[in-house]
C-alpha cells in the first residue's frame, strides 16, 4: 500500500494542478452519487504524509468506493498552492466536493473523526 502511495504522490506532485490523477473506481453496490473530490496536501514524503495517504485510501475504498478522486499535492514542490486552500497544518485533507469545503488535518489515523469530518458518519 505504501508503494502505491508513493507512486501516487510522485505522479501527482509533478503537475498536480493539471494532471489530476484520480483514484476513481466504479462503485460497487454503493449508491451512485456525486464524485468526491479530495485533496491531500503534504510536504514531502514524511512518515506523517505516508500514513495520511494510506489512511485516506483505505477509508475511501471502504466508504466511497468508486466515487472519489484523490489529488495529492506536495507543497515542497508547489508552495504557491498552499495559499489557495489556506493550508497551514500538514497533512491536510480538503474535501472540495461535495460542498461545503471541509478541512481535516492530521494523519487521518483517527478514522472516527475523519468520518465525522467528511460528513460520512451521518450518511451511514
Amino acid at each position: 500500500m505504501s508503494a502505491a502511495a508513493k507512486t501516487e504522490k510522485k505522479t501527482s506532485s509533478k503537475s498536480p494542478a493539471k494532471n489530476r490523477k484520480a483514484l476513481s473506481k466504479p462503485a460497487k453496490g454503493e449508491p451512485a452519487g456525486e464524485i468526491w473530490e479530495l485533496k491531500l496536501y503534504v510536504a514531502g514524503q514524511t512518515p506523517k504524509s505516508v500514513t495520511a495517504f494510506n489512511n485516506l485510501k483505505n477509508l475511501c475504498e471502504e466508504h466511497l468506493k468508486g466515487i472519489y478522486k484523490i489529488e495529492v499535492i506536495d507543497l515542497l514542490k508547489n508552495p504557491q498552492l498552499a495559499k489557495g486552500d489556506q493550508i497551514l497544518a500538514l497533512p491536510t485533507l480538503v474535501r472540495k466536493l461535495p460542498v461545503p469545503i471541509r478541512k481535516i488535518i492530521g494523519d487521518l489515523s483517527n478514522t472516527e473523526r475523519v468520518l465525522v469530518g467528511l460528513d460520512l458518519r451521518v450518511g451511514k
Binding site: 497551514l88 485533507l93 488535518i105 492530521g106 483517527n110
Partner: protein, 574 residues
C-alpha cells in the same frame, strides 16, 4: 548568525523615534515580539516597519496576516499614506492572508505546521524578503485544536525565522498578567516591545515600552507615540539633553519700546519667553507682534493656540493693526489649534514635535501654556512643559508662551511653575486706579542681557502695542487717564512755580538795579567831593610854589642860596 554573537546588528525601522530609543532599530535577523491590547497599534507598527523597509531601505517584506485580508489591510493603511497595492505590484511587499476557521477544521491525528512554513518560505523567496511580519500568530491558538502541537511548532517557527536571517515582527495580544495571551514571549526572547493605550481622566495616550532587548542598551521608559496620517511616531522625550547652543543673535519683539527695554535689541534667538498676566492684559497681542515682525522678515512662525481659532486670532490681530492673513497665505505662519483636552500631555508633545519637524519654524507661540494644566497633575504638566521647552530650544526656536494668571493669585506665581525654565519673563498686570484699568508691563527677568527694571504702561491701540512711561513720583505710580491728569496737574503746578520764580527773579533784578543806582549816587557824591578836595590841594600847592619862587627871587637878591630850601620846607610843614 554567528556574526551577531560578536556585535548585534540592528535593522532600522525607519519609524520616527523608535530607532532612537532602540539605538538603531530592531535586532537584525531576529524576531521581535510586539504586544499590546486590542487597538493599540500593533498591526500598524508592524506594517510601517515593512513599508519603510521596502521604501527607505530597499528591504522587501512579507506580511502574514491572520486577522485581516490583503484588501482590508491595504485599505486600512492607505489612510496612513501607505500604498500597499503599489508596493505589492512592485514586488516589494507580499501580503499573505491566512484564513483559519476552527469550525471547518477537524483534527484527526498527528500534524505539524509545515504548511505555514512553506507558505512563509515561498513568500519570502518570491520577493527576497528581509523583513517579515506575522500578525497575529495567536490566531492559531483559537483556530487549531491542539495547543501542544502549536507550541512546539511555534518554537520551531521562531528558530526557523532566525535561520532565514529575516528580521521579524510577531504581534501578540496582551493577556491577563502576561505579555501575550498565549505566552509568545517564551519563544521570542530577543526583543519585546509593548504597546499600551491608556486612558487617564478621559484622555488617552498611547505608549510604547521596550520590555526587553537582549544584547543591546535601550531606553527603558514608556514613550508616548502617535498614530496619525503620516504613520507612527514615537517621541523619546526623556532622551532630550540639556546641551543646546546659545547664540547672541537677537529677535526683535515687534514693539520698538520693548526692544529698548530688552537691552535695545529684543529677545535672544532660541530663548524661551514667558508672558504672564491676568485675563485681558494683552498677552496674545504681544505674541502677535512677535509673529508679525518675524513673518515680515520672512521667518516661519508656528502658532499653537488652544483657546481661539485661527480665524479669531487673525481677526483680533487686525483690530490692533496687524494683518496676519498674508503670512498664512505665504505659508510663513501656521496655526495649530487644538483644545488641550483633545489629547493627553504626551500626545501634545508628540504633536508639537511633529509640527516642529515638518514646519521647521523659527518662532513658536504657545497660547496659552496654562491650558495644559487641565490635563494632568502639576508634576506631569511641569515635566511635559520642560520637555517641550527643551525640544523647542534644542531646535533653536524662539518660543513665546503666554500664561494666564488667575485673579487674586500672586502675579509672579504662574500656575505651572515653569518660570525657572524661561529665559525672559514679561509680566503684564492690571493697574486699577481711580475707576479705570490700565495695563502695565515689567521685564521680570531676561537672562543674559541688561534689561530695564522699569514698569511701562502698555497701550493697545489701533496701530498696535505701544509702551509709554508711567507716572512715577510723589510716592505713587499712575497710569492711564490718572497719569494724564497727574501730568496735567503737574504741568499747571510747574507753570505756577515757574511764574513765581520769574517774579522772584524780577524782584531781585529790581533790587539789584536799586542797589546799583544807590552805589552810583554815592560814588558820584564821593567823586565830586574828591574833585573839590583835590582842586583845593592843587590850588594850595600852586600857591606854595609861587610863594617859594618868590622867596627864591628875594633870597637871590639877598645872596642867601643855601637857606632857600629850608624855608621852603618849613612852609610845607605848616
Amino acid at each position: 548568525m554567528q556574526k551577531m554573537m560578536s556585535a548585534l546588528k540592528k535593522c532600522a525601522t525607519g519609524i520616527q523615534g523608535l530607532d532612537e530609543i532602540t539605538q538603531g532599530g530592531l535586532p537584525k535577523g531576529r524576531p521581535t515580539l510586539v504586544c499590546g491590547s486590542a487597538g493599540c497599534g500593533k498591526t500598524l507598527l508592524a506594517m510601517e516597519f515593512l513599508v519603510r523597509g521596502a521604501v527607505q531601505f530597499n528591504e522587501p517584506g512579507v506580511f502574514m496576516a491572520f486577522e485581516e485580508n490583503a484588501e482590508e489591510l491595504t485599505k486600512n493603511v492607505a489612510s496612513l499614506g501607505f500604498d500597499l497595492e503599489d508596493l505589492s505590484k512592485k514586488k516589494k511587499i507580499v501580503v499573505d492572508y491566512v484564513y483559519i476557521e476552527r469550525s471547518e477544521i477537524e483534527e484527526t491525528g498527528e500534524y505539524d505546521l509545515e504548511g505555514l512554513f512553506i507558505r512563509l518560505d515561498h513568500a519570502i523567496k518570491s520577493v527576497g524578503a528581509k523583513r517579515v511580519v506575522i500578525d497575529t500568530i495567536e490566531a492559531l491558538f483559537s483556530g487549531l485544536p491542539n495547543p501542544n502541537v502549536l507550541r512546539a511548532e511555534l518554537r520551531r517557527l521562531f528558530r526557523w525565522l532566525k535561520a532565514q536571517g529575516v528580521t521579524a515582527i510577531i504581534t501578540g495580544e496582551k493577556g491577563e498578567g502576561t505579555l501575550t495571551r498565549h505566552g509568545l514571549e517564551e519563544y521570542v526572547a530577543d526583543c519585546v516591545i509593548m504597546l499600551d493605550h491608556r486612558v487617564t481622566e478621559q484622555i488617552s495616550t498611547r505608549r510604547l515600552r521596550i520590555v526587553k532587548y537582549r544584547g543591546s542598551v535601550h531606553g527603558t521608559n514608556e514613550y508616548p507615540f502617535l498614530i496619525d496620517e503620516t504613520g507612527f511616531s514615537v517621541l523619546p522625550i526623556t532622551s532630550v539633553g540639556l546641551n543646546h547652543k546659545a547664540t547672541d543673535e537677537r529677535v526683535p519683539t515687534g514693539i520698538p519700546r520693548l526692544d529698548a527695554m530688552l537691552d535695545g535689541k529684543g529677545y535672544y534667538r532660541g530663548s524661551s519667553i514667558l508672558v504672564s498676566g491676568t485675563a485681558g492684559t494683552g498677552k496674545t497681542s504681544l505674541a502677535m507682534h512677535l509673529v508679525n515682525k518675524a513673518c515680515s522678515r520672512g521667518e516661519r512662525c508656528l502658532y499653537m493656540a488652544s483657546e481661539e481659532s485661527a480665524h479669531q486670532i487673525i481677526r483680533n490681530a487686525k483690530s490692533i493693526g496687524l494683518d496676519l492673513a498674508p503670512w498664512v497665505k505665504k505659508g510663513l505662519l501656521h496655526f495649530h489649534v487644538a483644545r488641550p483636552t483633545y489629547s493627553g500631555l504626551e500626545m501634545h508633545l508628540v504633536t508639537i514635535n511633529k509640527l516642529i519637524r515638518e514646519f521647521r519654524p523659527n518662532i513658536a507661540v504657545i497660547d496659552p501654556i496654562t491650558g495644559m494644566t487641565n490635563i494632568g497633575s502639576v508634576d506631569e504638566v511641569k515635566a511635559m512643559l520642560m520637555r517641550m521647552i527643551d525640544i523647542l530650544k534644542s531646535s533653536y526656536i524662539t518660543t513665546l508662551c503666554t500664561s494666564l494668571t488667575h485673579g487674586g493669585q500672586n502675579l509672579e506665581q504662574t500656575v505651572v511653575a515653569v518660570t525657572s525654565l524661561m529665559d525672559t519673563w514679561l509680566l503684564l498686570r492690571d493697574i486699577e486706579y481711580n475707576g479705570e484699568r490700565t495695563r502695565g508691563l515689567y521685564v521680570l527677568k531676561s537672562r543674559g542681557m541688561a534689561h530695564s527694571n522699569q514698569i511701562r504702561e502698555f497701550l493697545i491701540t489701533a496701530k498696535g502695542i505701544d509702551l509709554t512711561d508711567v507716572y512715577v513720583g510723589q510716592g505713587m505710580v499712575l497710569t492711564g487717564s490718572a497719569r494724564r491728569v497727574q501730568e496735567m496737574k503737574e504741568k499747571a503746578e510747574s507753570v505756577v512755580r515757574r511764574e513765581e520764580l520769574e517774579r522772584v527773579k524780577r524782584e531781585l533784578e529790581r533790587k539789584r538795579l536799586i542797589m546799583e543806582a544807590k552805589i552810583n549816587e554815592v560814588r558820584a557824591e564821593y567823586e565830586s567831593a574828591e574833585e573839590a578836595l583835590l582842586a583845593s590841594v592843587k590850588e594850595q600847592e600852586l600857591k606854595e610854589n609861587a610863594l617859594a619862587a618868590d622867596r627864591g627871587v628875594i633870597a637871590g637878591m639877598r645872596k642867601a642860596d643855601a637857606s632857600s630850601k629850608k624855608k621852603g620846607r618849613i612852609y610845607k610843614q605848616k
